[in-house]
């Protein structure tokens, strides 16, 4: 009997020790509630799905002419809905023929530019019977949307390459490109961005300037993973309206390279333009940088700081001791994933991960361009199993759009305004 007591005590002791081993706790910050402004929900709309139009997770949203344009990260499609009813109107797929315009550009496929690879179009591919990639039906993705008089879609274009004189040695390369449609969804142009400084880039965000120049955020996996380099990782490039590369304008924040994260976990870098100034935010650094003059301000009045997480990784050469940190995401409880422009100020959306016990919440903060916090609001992460997946701000109607997914009931969109 004594042994059984001993066994039970040992079991609880070991459980207790294991519980205590979860040592890492991010620094909590007391919030000043005077900045708090509540959101009032004006309407709630169900978003129609069917077998051909399934939303997995939202990559981006825009609104124009009473239509809701949604990019789905899973399928890479653009799906268009009636903004008032949520009824499906149309689906636009990033067809593989968009990739053909990459072939007519005179740049080489990423890091293979020292080798003898060439981009090829669909016609050549079929002629040369280059096979392996026929098994993949849909490869391209629309990643970001901007609508003015036309529809601009920043896309990841995947293009076939083959080694000259060796047709069976083929691969797929990624290129960022801007695809333009009119509002009747007629294709107008495809501008592939020449990627001489990027390896295997996946497109993330872009700004179209008044001079028809483009600032494009892409990743550069080659440098980090293949060349084992973490310093000076480029994140933002400037291009002319032909897609020719002009210069690198920004590199990844030192915090992300010194902590060995680099482009790791959730590469979500966001841009916004206020008048002629462009601002950039990286997910864990809790700051916003002016692209031109590099003036930087920190996001304030959020419930946690990520600084301790960066210090932890820097001190541990980027390694995570799982006896100290059970959930690696708790190293960085603040993830700023989207910037918008509201009149002359910046809206920053940050997802806050509290702990396993407490539900997440998104903070919507408005800052002046010199970094003064104007106001902020909170959006509950989970309401009756409808989990917040994306927040969009539409400057034309000054409304916020909260997108929630319920695994049994589907997607809903809540339209909200600041009270």
């Amino acid at each position: 009997m004594k042994n059984i007591y001993f066994l039970i005590i040992s079991f609880f002791y070991l459980t207790f020790i294991s519980y205590c081993a979860d040592k890492f706790e991010p620094d909590e910050i007391k919030i000043d509630n005077s900045y708090e402004k509540r959101f009032k929900i004006i309407s709630k709309i169900s978003i129609q799905e069917n077998e051909n139009a399934v939303l997995k997770s939202i990559a981006d949203v825009d609104i124009s002419d009473n239509k809701l344009y949604v990019l789905d990260y899973g399928s890479g499609n653009l799906t268009i809905y009636n903004i008032n009813s949520g009824k499906l109107i149309n689906i636009l797929k990033p067809e593989i023929n968009l990739s053909d315009s990459v072939c007519v550009k005179s740049f080489s496929p990423y890091f293979m530019n020292t080798l003898d690879y060439n981009y090829i179009d669909i016609k050549v591919r079929n002629h040369k019977r280059i096979i392996p990639l026929d098994r993949v039906k849909e490869m391209n993705q629309f990643n970001r949307i901007l609508i003015d008089e036309n529809i601009y879609l920043l896309s990841t274009l995947r293009t076939y390459c083959y080694k000259k004189n060796k047709a069976n040695d083929s691969l797929i390369a990624n290129t960022a490109g801007l695809v333009e449609y009119d509002k009747n969804l007629n294709l107008l142009s495809v501008i592939p961005f020449a990627n001489s400084y990027k390896g295997c880039p996946i497109a993330f965000d872009f700004i179209k300037t008044d001079n028809d120049e483009y600032y494009v955020v892409t990743s550069d996996n080659i440098r980090q993973y293949y060349q084992n380099k973490l310093d000076s990782l480029p994140i933002l490039g400037k291009y002319n309206n032909n897609g020719d590369f002009l210069k690198i304008t920004n590199f990844l924040d030192d915090k992300l390279t010194k902590s060995y994260i680099g482009y790791g976990i959730d590469y979500q870098i966001s841009l916004t333009k206020v008048d002629n100034d462009i601002f950039i935010a990286t997910p864990y650094t809790s700051n916003i940088v002016n692209v031109a003059n590099k003036n930087t301000f920190n996001l304030i009045n959020l419930p946690f700081s990520n600084d301790k997480g960066f210090e932890y990784l820097e001190n541990n050469d980027g390694n995570i001791d799982t006896s100290e940190v059970k959930n690696k995401y708790l190293l960085f409880p603040v993830r700023t994933y989207r910037l918008f422009t509201r009149a002359n100020s910046i809206i920053a959306i940050s997802h806050i991960l509290f702990s396993k016990q407490k539900k997440g919440v998104d903070f919507v903060q408005e800052y002046s361009i010199d970094g003064t916090l104007i106001q902020q609001g909170q959006v509950e992460g989970n309401i009756n199993n409808a989990v917040l997946q994306f927040i969009h701000y539409n400057k034309n109607d000054d409304l916020f759009y909260f997108f929630r997914k319920d695994n049994s009931k589907g997607w809903t969109m809540e339209v909200a305004k600041w009270e």
Partner: protein
């Protein structure tokens, strides 16, 4: 006496772990209607991930089949997503005509595979014969 109880304790834990893995495997087996003389190949997939993540396991399967290391098998894609409806995206993206099953994020763990495993081959009785990372 003490040592026996410890052994029994760990035996029961191991048995419990094994049976929960086995239950999951049996569910998958039932899903594909696996026959006694068949092998089950499972590939672990995400929706919207890079093309390579799809091509790599498919190339390995072709190689294993060519080398005669697998034969008479059924192929199941265990796809990470929240809803069964989302499996349609995968189906369309890859012209997928084989078996599909939704992975709630614990599929690899339940099958005793590591976080970076992309392909596992099982015999009918659940014996793992190949695992590729």
């Amino acid at each position: 006496m003490g040592i026996r109880i410890y052994i029994l304790f760990f035996f029961l834990i191991t048995l419990n772990l094994y049976s929960s893995n086995n239950t999951y495997f049996n569910t998958l087996k039932k899903n594909v209607d696996l026959k006694r003389n068949e092998q089950l190949i499972i590939i672990y997939q995400d929706i919207g991930s890079c093309v390579k993540c799809y091509l790599q396991p498919m190339d390995q399967i072709a190689k294993l089949a060519k080398d005669g290391k697998i034969k008479n098998f059924k192929l199941l894609a265990l796809v990470r997503c929240d809803r069964d409806l989302e499996l349609n995206i995968y189906k369309k993206q890859h012209n997928w005509t084989n078996y599909l099953y939704r992975d709630d994020g614990n599929g690899r763990k339940r099958l005793g595979a590591s976080e970076i495993t992309y392909l596992t081959v099982f015999e009918y009785d659940g014996k793992k014969i190949y695992e590729m990372e």
